[in-house]
Structures are given as C-alpha cells and as structure tokens.
Symmetry: C2
Subunit: 230 residues, 2 copies
C-alpha cells in the first residue's frame, strides 16, 4: 500500500528487540499524532528525537529493527510512519481485555478513556467478592472467577488486567494461565511468576513512588548516609 511498506520490511526473524525500544515506539507514535494534528507532513529523526529528549541515532536505530520507513534527504512521512508503528505495536486492531478486580483501582481503570483510545476494550469483569458478582459496571456484568475460562473463550479475550490486592494476585494469575490467557497487565504490588509463554507487564505504583521518594530524599548514597539534614 504505502511506498515504505513495499520495501524490505523485516529484519531477521530472530532479532531481539529491546523492551526500551518498544516503549519508545509508543512515544514516537504519540508525537506523530501531535505532528499530524499540527498539519506536519514529514519529520526527521532529529526532530522526533529532540521532542522526546533522545538522539536522532536512537530513533533511527529503533525503527531499523522493523524495517525501512524513511526517505533519505526527506525524513519520515508522518501519517505513514504512524500507521507502520501502530501495526508493529498491534494497536491497529481491537483487543478485548478482561479486568479482574472491580475495586477502587479496577473501576478507575474501567472508566479510563485511554484504554479505548488505544484499541483496548474491557469485555469482561471478574471479582471474587460474591457481593459484587452479578452487579453491572459500565454495562458489563461482574462474573465469578469460576467461569474465567469459559468467558474468555466465548469473548475471544487474550489479555487480562489484574487489579486485585497484592496477596490475591498470584492466585488470580494462576487461574488466568489455566484459562489460556496470553498476556497480563499487573497492577497489584506483587511479584508474580508465570510460565514462559505468558507475557507480563507490571505497573507497580509502589516501586514508582519509592523511586520518587529516593530521588527527592537525596538520591545519592551519601545523602542516604548523611541523614536528616534540614
């Protein structure tokens, strides 16, 4: 379809892509959306990098893992590169996801517009609390964990979000694995272990919070030793 796509579009099948590269792909996509809104038709690796605080070489290297998308002397065509990245990330499709845990955090995630914008649609809700089972949130009935496997299969769900308390997280993960889940986004502040073939991405607020605390509490080993000066 697009010119760049016609060209050599994949590296060797066994090339390993660093996680950091995939994370930056999301940032490129976000910046491309902004550029498109502003009416820019092309962008160079150095412009893209400058906006995100990374080098131009990094931008080109990241994209280079997936193919050739640019035009020497010109740069990248904004709409075309956006489409290509969306395809790489798999966000050019709709992903139905299951949300396990309809507590405080779970309900907030359910109301989070960003999910739908990114092509993720919560298609099933689960909770272990009998008082919550049967209630309706955002139009979806809360199901008990027993029917996990059946519901996932019926609704073609391959992704799950865990938003349960830390001590319940591993148990839920195990049940999701049995129900043949393929990827888990874990919000519980817990280290969970999974078989190789199930992908895990963790959003650990505790860790992030402690990072920040560390940074402002002093941040250097010396400061940690010096103690309460001030």
């Amino acid at each position: 379809m697009s010119r760049a796509r016609d060209r050599n579009t994949h590296a060797a099948a066994d090339t390993v892509v660093p996680r950091a590269t995939v994370a930056r792909l999301s940032l490129y996509l976000r910046q491309l959306a902004r550029l498109l809104r502003q009416g820019n038709q092309t962008v160079s690796s150095s412009q893209l990098g400058r906006a995100l605080g990374i080098t131009d070489a990094q931008v080109r290297k990241d994209l280079g893992y997936f193919g050739q998308f640019g035009y020497p002397g010109i740069g990248y065509r904004v709409p075309e590169l956006g489409e290509a990245i969306r395809h790489i990330l798999g966000t050019d499709r709709a992903w139905p996801v299951a949300l396990v845990g309809v507590g405080n955090l779970g309900r907030a995630l359910l109301g989070y517009r960003g999910f739908r914008e990114q092509g993720f649609q919560v298609a099933a809700l689960f909770d272990s609390d009998p008082a919550k089972v049967g209630t309706i949130c955002e139009g979806i009935r809360v199901e008990p964990l027993d029917v996990l496997a059946r519901v996932l299969a019926e609704r073609g769900i391959r992704l799950a979000i865990i938003a349960v308390p830390a001590d319940a997280a591993q148990g839920v993960a195990d049940r999701l694995v049995v129900a043949r889940i393929q990827g888990i986004l874990n919000f519980a502040p817990a280290t969970i272990s999974l078989p190789e073939h199930v992908h895990l991405v963790g959003v650990d607020l505790t860790v992030q919070l402690e990072q920040l605390s560390f940074l402002i509490a002093g941040g250097s080993p010396a400061a940690a030793a010096e103690d309460d000066g001030s």
Copy 2:
C-alpha cells in the same frame, strides 16, 4: 544502632546509582516484608535473588552502592536490611503529597491504600474545574490551581501527582515548578519537560498497554511484517 550501620555505610558521594537498582530496592523491601511475616531472621543474596528472578551477584551489587549490610557466612538480617532499605528510599519518613486532577483516575489514586502504606499521604487536592473546587474528597477540600504555591508551602508539600488529561499536563507541571515542587509523579499520557532540579517519574499506561499488545501481537519484527496469520 545496628551493627551493620556502624560499618562503612556510604560509597563515594559521586557514585551514580542506576535507576534499575533503585527499582530493585523496592522489590527487595517487599520480599523482606514477606520473609519477616514468615518469621525468617536472615536471608542470603541468593535466596533473595531467586525469589525475584535475579542473580545473587545483582543483589549484592545493588546493596553495595549504599554500604555493607551483610554478614559473610550468614547473609543479611531481615529486619535490619529492611530498615536500611527504607532509610535509603526515604520511606522511613512521611511524605505529604499534592494530587492535581480529581477526575476518575485521581479519585482512584486518592482511595489507593498503597500510598499511605508507603508513607505517602495526600495532603492537598487541586483541580482546574470550578465545579469541583470547594468540594470535599476523602476529607480534603479541592483547591483551585491559583493557590498552589501558598498551599504547598503551608503544608510542607514537596511532591505532586499529576492526574489530569494529557493536554493539560505540561501546564500543570509548569505551575508546580513555579510553586517550587521537588518531584512529580506523572500519570498523564504525555511527555513533559522540567528543569533539571525537579525529579520526574512517569507512569504511562498507554506505553505499558502498547508493550503488552506488542508482545502478544507477535513481538518479533517478523511477526509484525507477516501480518494477520491466525
């Protein structure tokens, strides 16, 4: 006080600690809490590493940035190491934080127990929506952004959480900087830029979600090129 603390407890003042090391410190702390609950008095670097899926050398190296906490032949004393890490992370103190943006996500964060458990206490709420200003959430009055500087100073707040829409994030960040904030935890899916001296930790759900999508959509460059084979 404790024996380990008496010994050489800090590296050279200019040693740079990798962010990844700080993140792992949080995981060590979490595992130590579990061990303590189970009644373990000591733990070795290899036990700690095995529980978290990292090498024993990594554990010792991470701790080595901050001092000597172990006992050759024995390992680490669980309560003592826990205390030491809490001190390094700065979570042995209470941190009052400001929460900007009392929407869906903001209110969920407000109700999140994990914050308080980690020593963070939301001590001020802000929102730009006049309809929300003056309302009370969890016992705290929502203030307008105009009074940011005064309220932060009055309540001794050095940390802020941004939970506003993406297009408002940079503006809020700028106002926080003017109000002399020292660290920001940003939940808005936006790249924000700050002066050097203000610390930033981002929790970017979009990026995490796209990571997961990438992993299950294929994950390899080849899969991205192969297209819809399923």
